[in-house]
């Protein structure tokens, strides 16, 4: 009887495990770039962040070889601070790495409708430069897969110029790049 029961359980186990055999599956994780740029400047300005490998890998929520990286959306959250005299700002974001540089977007933000401390969101997908998106995704993929050359700095900047030109901008700009990482598990 014991043999019969054991045989039945083993057969059942084999049936089950064979149904759940390892299969390569494309899964999707995220890498959310989220940086706050403090701006207190008269005229043109540019604030930069250089990303380290850890800055990226600490933010991802998966393990596995990345097949591709894509950007789902880019947006900025702008807050005007006390003392701001700029009526508008011509904003841009820039992606630079390995001697290659592209503006991710340019956007004129009218600040006259802002109240101090109020945050306004601008989703910028239609204004994105595909070349900058490609550079960003390429570098994120290299970092996650461990092929990034650390001598090639990976820098994301936010800059702009105020209108009128001699006015002072006192604001914070939060740049959010929601990216997806397609990875395979088996």
């Amino acid at each position: 009887m014991k043999k019969t029961i054991l045989g039945f359980l083993v057969a059942s186990s084999l049936m089950m495990t064979s149904c759940l055999e390892d299969i390569a599956t494309d899964l999707v994780g995220t890498y959310p770039f989220n940086e706050l740029y403090e701006i207190d400047q008269t005229g043109a300005f540019e604030e930069s962040r250089t990303l380290s490998v850890a800055d990226v890998t600490d933010e991802i929520d998966f393990d596995g070889e990345v097949k591709s990286v894509g950007v789902n959306s880019v947006k900025i959250l702008v807050t005007v601070n006390s003392g701001n005299t700029a009526e508008s700002v011509d904003l841009f974001a820039n992606i630079t790495s390995g001697g290659i540089s592209y503006d991710l977007f340019t956007k004129t933000v009218d600040l006259t409708s802002f109240t101090v401390g109020q945050e306004q969101e601008f989703i910028l997908n239609p204004e994105l430069n595909p070349a900058a998106v490609t550079l960003f995704t390429l570098k994120v993929k290299e970092i996650i897969n461990g092929t990034f050359d650390v001598n090639e700095q990976f820098t994301i900047s936010v800059g702009g110029d105020t209108n009128p030109g001699n006015s002072t901008i006192k604001a914070t700009v939060r740049l959010m790049i929601d990216s997806e990482c397609v990875y395979t598990t088996n």
């Binding site: 009887m1 019969t4 029961i5 039945f8 359980l9 059942s12 186990s13 049936m15 089950m16 495990t17 149904c19 759940l20 390892d22 299969i23 390569a24 599956t25 494309d26 899964l27 999707v28 994780g29 995220t30 991802i60 929520d61 998966f62 393990d63 596995g64 591709s68 894509g70 950007v71 789902n72 959306s73 880019v74 947006k75 977007f105 989703i123 910028l124 997908n125 239609p126 204004e127 994105l128 430069n129 595909p130 070349a131 900058a132 998106v133 490609t134 929601d178 997806e180 397609v182 598990t185 088996n186």
Partner: protein, 297 residues
Amino acid sequence: MKNNYLKLIMSSLILICVIPFSSVQAQTLDDYITRYTGENGPGYIKPAVESISSNMNSGWYRSAKIKKLRPQFYLGVVVMGAFIPEDNKTFRATTEGDFSPRQTVDAPTIVGSGESVTISGDGGTTYTFPGGADINFIPLAAPQLTLGSVFGTDVSVRYVTAPIGGEIGDVTLSGFGIRHSVSQYLPDLFPVDIAINYNNSTAEVGDIMKVKSWIAGVQGSYSIKILNVYGGFAYEKGNADINYTSSEGTNIDFNIDTNANMRATLGLCLNMGPVKLNTDYSIGAQNVLTVGFGIGI
């Protein structure tokens, strides 16, 4: 690495199916659910819920013969496997978040193709729907005890529990069933035993997920020496409640209703003294193959 409760939910769903035999695949399956915390979540998970529900509604009987008043029992293990139909492999998924323009496409469900589906949006953006586990068959196993009979009625229970660790707690599968003989009201010359049944099953993962299902029907059986041919028609339904707060503070609340379905079952039971070996096949929303082994009188 961040915790992701939803990933644990799906692995727990699968773990429910393999509690008695295997934990090999659970860790791998942890990764499947990351993408679907929003409106696409129910559509992605639903086929697995239907499989678990169909499985839980299977294997409850191997004969419709219930004496009017006589000690009867069955103690055994029931192994069920739901076959995933092709139309459960994809669902209509819609892009989420700030991706634009919003698009709806056919994407793999949790049991669908392993290949992801990527679409293009404004300004070089992309949106990817993940692949599934490419599963054609989801198994479930449970011990079962049936006791009777009083006034032509018997009751069955199933129960199995296993800790899965972490903050989730235990995975528990439980079930209850009652049957009542119709044959006792029919003339003795009627050759087929007939009974009606109602069964209710629950699979719980800690306090964050509960899959419930029920089935009610009529069953019949006919004995030829040591062989028992049995079958029946039934109506079944299931649902799942998923409610948790992610580590990022997002509250996720899914309620997934499976479609109400009819099912037909046909099976054979070999009675070798007290030892009973049976197999049956059910045709319904998801077809289910059942194998049972136990002892009883």
